[in-house]
């Protein structure tokens, strides 16, 4: 085979191959765009319906972009249900749990990673085992304990049982395990106390893990429905998800756009946080996938 022949076969092969890749790429793009439409459509419908007058809420085809923006539903949602109160309750519950778990899990995660004490592995093993147990399996005893402490039907019933976490401890421990031990030893020789080493050396380095844990807890507890449903009775204590479901039941189908305005309001903090801390949301998803 001459060089020319080789070149021509190569060129031919290239010509034959390239279009296939291109077709594949175009088909891939089409599938992705269909995926985006399906992922985004329901959210867009919710947003646009929340901006329509209640009378027009169920007109089909929907006006995807409302011509007259009607913020009346957002006013109505405050008048018809105590959504301000729900919002405040959700903020209190979520913020206190996030803060509490940050403290308890950072302390315990550090100890399990860096400090040696008798029975450490046994205790940590028990922690790991409890991670397998679904919430539903323990909800009745937790309900009884909460009642014993006189906390039923209060925000404390949601907050206090959630202040410690085996998963959070595990997450922080994994992070502290990767840190060099020499830093702490050097600080000890320089006369730092045990807690000083933790506080001044390692805790500062753990901020990405703390952020990930905080974001995970925020998304989990802001959206939580099951425990509020069981622990709360009076409407004044409801958190947003429980309050919204109640709103839907009370108002019936007449005020869909009002209900959806509430749904949008409840999503705003998550979306804002996502915009500023997207990295930690993604980190949170992958955090558990230890290989």
């Amino acid at each position: 085979m001459t060089t020319l022949e080789v070149e021509s076969t190569l060129r031919e092969a290239g010509r034959r191959r390239r279009p296939i890749v291109k077709v594949g790429s175009v088909v891939g793009m089409i599938v992705l765009i269909i995926g985006v439409i399906f992922a985004f459509g329901p959210l867009l419908w919710t947003l646009s319906t929340s901006l329509r007058t209640p009378a027009e809420a169920f007109t089909n085809p929907p006006q995807w972009i409302p011509t007259d923006w009607d913020f009346g539903n957002y006013v109505a949602v405050f008048n018809e249900i105590p959504i301000g109160q729900f919002f405040l309750n959700s903020v209190i519950v979520t913020v206190l749990i996030v803060a509490g778990q940050t403290v308890t899990c950072t302390l315990s995660g550090y100890a399990f990673a860096m400090v040696s004490f008798p029975a450490k592995n046994t205790i940590f093993g028990v922690f790991l085992a409890t991670m397998m147990v679904p919430l539903q399996t323990i909800i009745i005893p937790v309900f009884i304990i909460v009642r014993m402490f006189g906390l039923s039907d209060s925000l404390s019933a949601l907050i206090i049982p959630a202040l410690g976490s085996a998963f959070g401890t595990f997450l922080m421990r994994q992070y502290f395990m990767q840190m060099p031990r020499e830093l702490g030893e050097a600080a000890r020789i320089d006369g730092a106390t045990q807690f000083g080493v933790f506080w001044h050396v390692y805790a500062r380095m753990a901020s990405p893990a703390i952020a990930t844990l905080a974001i995970l807890n925020f998304s989990g507890f802001w959206a939580e429905f099951y425990r509020p449903l069981i622990f709360l009775n009076s409407q004044s204590n409801f958190t947003l998800p429980l309050g919204l479901v109640g709103l839907q039941g009370n108002l019936g189908t007449g005020s869909i756009s009002v209900v959806l305005a509430g749904v949008i309001l409840a999503m705003i903090p998550s979306v804002l946080l996502f915009i500023f801390a997207q990295r930690y949301f993604i980190e949170g998803v992958t955090a558990g996938s230890f290989r």
Partner: protein, 318 residues
């Protein structure tokens, strides 16, 4: 000085040094242990009171009959024998397993498809844009999703049936008919949760070494062969992890069916957790509900174990 004496001297010096250090070392170790216990104290206290003890109490309660008002009565295995002859509760476990399998299969397959397609994109910003979009549904609460999906899947006025009619297809009785109600539940959960598997798979695909892919392409492997012979085996540990997590979550499905259908029509979407909720918190049979809860835990453990066993043959560890 001979070597023998030298060794003896060094040994005795070391011995005396060790002796001098020993009480101090022991004290330091004890101090470190106290510090360790103090650090884990809060977490241990909360996890013990609100997770560990409840597990034991739940197990204990499953052998009692208790209506909350009168004192609990020990009934032995009666709750469990009743459970295994209770058609409604057993059917709720059947519903749970059917829905969970549907959810997990779709969630893994769709997540993988989207992740592979996004991973093939060349531009960084297209990747970021798609990743953000597919994550968005996870920002809504399950309650919010159940509310707006309820409207969208409405059989008479819903948008989905409207568009089906527009393209010439008949309306589907989404939440009205038992079978379609189950399908709707699967679709609603997958719509929201696919972002989770998608993000995991994208992260994992990005870590597939490029030299392996280059070698494959030099050897003449096409895109399909590369996908199924190289990429999928390399990310199989992540696929296992995603399957296990998705399965554990799907077996605990509660919010969507509870809000959208209250477990209906009939008992078509009454999952084990809804059945447990009704037994415990509506009919106040705490002992019997605990037995259901324990059975759920056992089934989740078995299913997880089976997945890990199956994975021994299928998962490729580097």
């Amino acid at each position: 000085m001979s070597t023998a004496t030298e060794t003896r001297v060094t040994a005795s010096r070391a011995k005396s040094l060790r002796a001098a250090r020993r009480p101090g070392a022991r004290r330091a170790a004890r101090r470190e242990a106290v510090f360790g216990y103090l650090m884990i104290g809060l977490a241990v206290a909360f996890v013990s009171v609100f997770t560990l003890i409840p597990i034991l109490v739940s197990l204990g309660l499953s052998f009692f009959s208790w209506d909350v008002i009168t004192p609990p009565q020990f009934v032995g295995f009666k709750n469990f024998t009743r459970l295994f002859s209770d058609g409604q509760v057993l059917s709720s476990f059947g519903v749970t397993i059917v829905l969970a399998i549907g959810i997990v299969v779709l969630q893994i397959a769709l997540g993988l498809l989207l992740a592979v397609l996004v991973n093939n994109r060349k531009h960084k910003w297209t990747k970021a844009l798609f990743r953000t979009t597919f994550y968005l549904p996870l920002l809504a609460s399950t309650a919010a999703v159940s509310i707006f999906m309820g409207y969208l899947f409405d059989a008479k006025f819903g948008l989905i049936n409207y568009y089906l009619n527009e393209i010439g297809l008949p309306s589907v009785p989404w939440l009205v008919n038992p079978t379609t109600a189950q399908i709707t539940m699967v679709l609603v959960v997958v719509w929201q949760q696919v972002g989770f598997t998608f993000v995991l798979f994208v992260a994992s695909l990005t870590s597939v070494p490029t030299d392996v892919l280059e070698a494959a392409s030099i050897d003449g492997a096409g895109p399909w062969r590369t996908l199924f012979r190289i990429k999928v085996p390399l990310i199989s540990p992540t696929i296992l992890f995603a399957t296990v997590v998705a399965m554990i979550n799907a077996m605990q499905l509660f919010d969507q069916p509870f809000i959208m259908t209250k477990g209906g029509p009939g008992t078509a979407t009454t999952t084990a957790t809804i059945s447990m909720y009704q037994t415990g918190f509506q009919n106040l049979q705490f002992g019997y509900a605990s037995a259901i809860a324990i059975l759920l835990l056992v089934i989740i453990l078995i299913v997880t174990g089976v997945q890990f066993l199956a994975a021994r043959k299928l998962v490729f560890y580097q």
